[in-house]
């Protein structure tokens, strides 16, 4: 028997709807589950006090501070490299073998799993350069990891600045660098910032690459130098979840809730920023 095409269409549409809803439902359930179990324990006191008894008691203040230092350091290192790369690719060259090599490098870097970055950071920064387990080793490793994200978004942002802006700038007698600095970069800024914010989020959620470079030591004070070893939120959560006792599980949940909440805020603001930015030139 031949099923009428119209019926097949309706049937397939139903299947596709339900598959998509299942995917979205899983997402909402995951976020909801973590926040539901974690937020009740994530009190202001938890956020503003130092951890005690390997994290089973007290709060996560030093962990939050360590996380911020590492991810801000990583982005501070990666931004000039990434934005510089994007400016070169968009404003200073045509497509040729050099740009192909650069793009190939960035694409490969984007595909490398975080555990490989962890291995590399461990042998190169921690051991060979003698930086030990530290904020600096962690930031350097994460900087390499977030480079492709920053390059890609900055490239998209620069390309979305209309060609006419550049022509007008030249017509007024500006040099190429003046044009880039005064016309293109300000125009592309929100898009570039989006990439930086996305990179912050990626660094924050990373575990495998920082656990071997920033270490697992749980500091009982706010770190004061880039040479201090710290534990990031994700690493702290992982260790509480896998090595902690049943008493430390509420703290694990609370840490997870803070982590997920922070990443949600970071990603939603990045998307809003990009959306507004792209609408500007449409």
């Amino acid at each position: 028997m031949r099923i009428p095409p119209r019926a097949v269409h309706v049937g397939m549409l139903g299947i596709l709807w339900s598959v998509t809803l299942a995917a979205i439902g899983t997402l909402i359930w995951i976020i909801g589950w973590v926040l539901w179990h974690g937020l009740p324990s994530a009190t202001p006191h938890f956020l503003t006090s130092m951890p005690q008894d390997s994290g089973a008691e007290g709060g996560i203040l030093s962990v939050i501070a360590g996380t911020l230092f590492i991810i801000l350091g990583a982005v501070a290192l990666a931004t000039p490299l990434g934005v510089g790369t994007a400016i070169y690719l968009v404003e200073y060259t045509r497509e040729n073998w050099v740009t192909r090599v650069i793009r190939y490098g960035a694409d490969c870097l984007a595909g490398i799993p975080s555990i490989i970055f962890g291995l590399f950071g461990y042998v190169f920064f921690v051991i060979t350069l003698g930086l030990r387990w530290s904020i600096l080793s962690g930031s350097l490793t994460l900087a390499l990891m977030s480079l492709p994200t920053i390059i890609r978004t900055a490239e998209v942002a620069l390309r979305s600045v209309p060609q006419g802006y550049r022509e007008v700038s030249y017509a007024l007698g500006a040099t190429r660098w003046q044009m880039v600095l005064r016309v293109v970069l300000p125009g592309a800024l929100p898009g570039i910032v989006t990439g930086i914010v996305l990179a912050l989020g990626r660094c924050m959620s990373e575990t495998a690459a920082v656990i071997f470079t920033a270490g697992t030591v749980l500091p009982d004070r706010i770190p004061t130098s880039p040479g201090d070893s710290v534990r990031t939120l994700a690493v702290h959560f992982y260790l509480l979840a896998t090595e902690g006792t049943s008493e430390s599980q509420p703290k694990a949940f609370a840490t997870a809730a803070i982590l997920v909440l922070a990443i949600l805020v970071i990603n939603v603001s990045a998307y809003t920023l990009m959306h507004r930015f792209l609408a500007r030139y449409r």
Binding site: V8, H9, M12, L16, V19, T20, A22, A23, I24, L27, I30, I31, W33, V34, L81, G84, T85, I87, Y88, I102, Y104, G105, D107, L109, G111, I112, P113, S114, I115, I116, G118, L119, F120, V123, F124, L144, L147, P148, I151, R176, W177, R202, M204, S205, T207, A208, I211, F212, F237, Y238, A241, T242, A252, A256, L259, I263, L264, I266, N267, Y271
Partner: protein
Amino acid sequence: MKQDSAIRLILLGLAMSSVAALAVITLFIFREGLPIIFRQGPGSFLFGSDWDPGAEPAAFGIFAMIAGTFAVTGGALLLGVPVGLGSAIFLSEFAPRKVATILKPALELLAGIPSVVFGYIGMLVLSPFIRDHIGGSGASVLAGSAILGIMILPTIISISMDTLRSVPRSYREGSFALGATGWQTTWKVTLPAARSGLVAAVILGMGRAVGETMAVIMVTGNTALVPKSPLSPARTLTANIAMQLNAAVGEHREALFACGVVLFVIIMVLNTFANWVAKLGKRA
């Protein structure tokens, strides 16, 4: 003009940073890992079934971990590919514009959730569920596959959607003009036109699954034996590295870097293949 060429040179230097990073990473991973592979012989390293760094003499055969990696990845694809492609097709071809503009970024949020959180859910919800309702100890290939299947969705969905959207409108209009239904158009016109991009999306999703570490460690049980069924525990290459690196010295550490070399090669082959397939489609 002198200033212009100086700036160009500086920017070129910055632009070489990612290439340089890739080169240094490759160099160091291979320098640490290759010697032991050749000392022991690639055959016995890759296909040796015994991993026992504590024994005298220590045994470094990673076949169980390679099998574990591919078992978990294969399972993840069985779940992630139909759901991922289905959602991508729905969002790009059938969903009302408003629905798609809200749901696409929402699904991409999945990519932002830390892998340790996925692992925790697997550990506390999925593994106990499998133990109580399906069988085995719960920490299994199945649990790892299910969690990874969800984790690779954003990769598959966002690349597939970009590919589907790049199929010219006129293809679909031509099909509708011949009286085809929406699904006939999708199945016979849009999907074949986007085929290579969709294959690339699946391969890149596979690369993500192979490289995932933390979530897998938390749910697969990590026994260094070739898994016999979806309910057996398994250890992946990534888990092997992450679990032992802190305690490893000497030959043991070299062997872990050698696992890194194998992982690196698998990922590079997958990514190069995905790139090649995607380009093939653009030329046609």
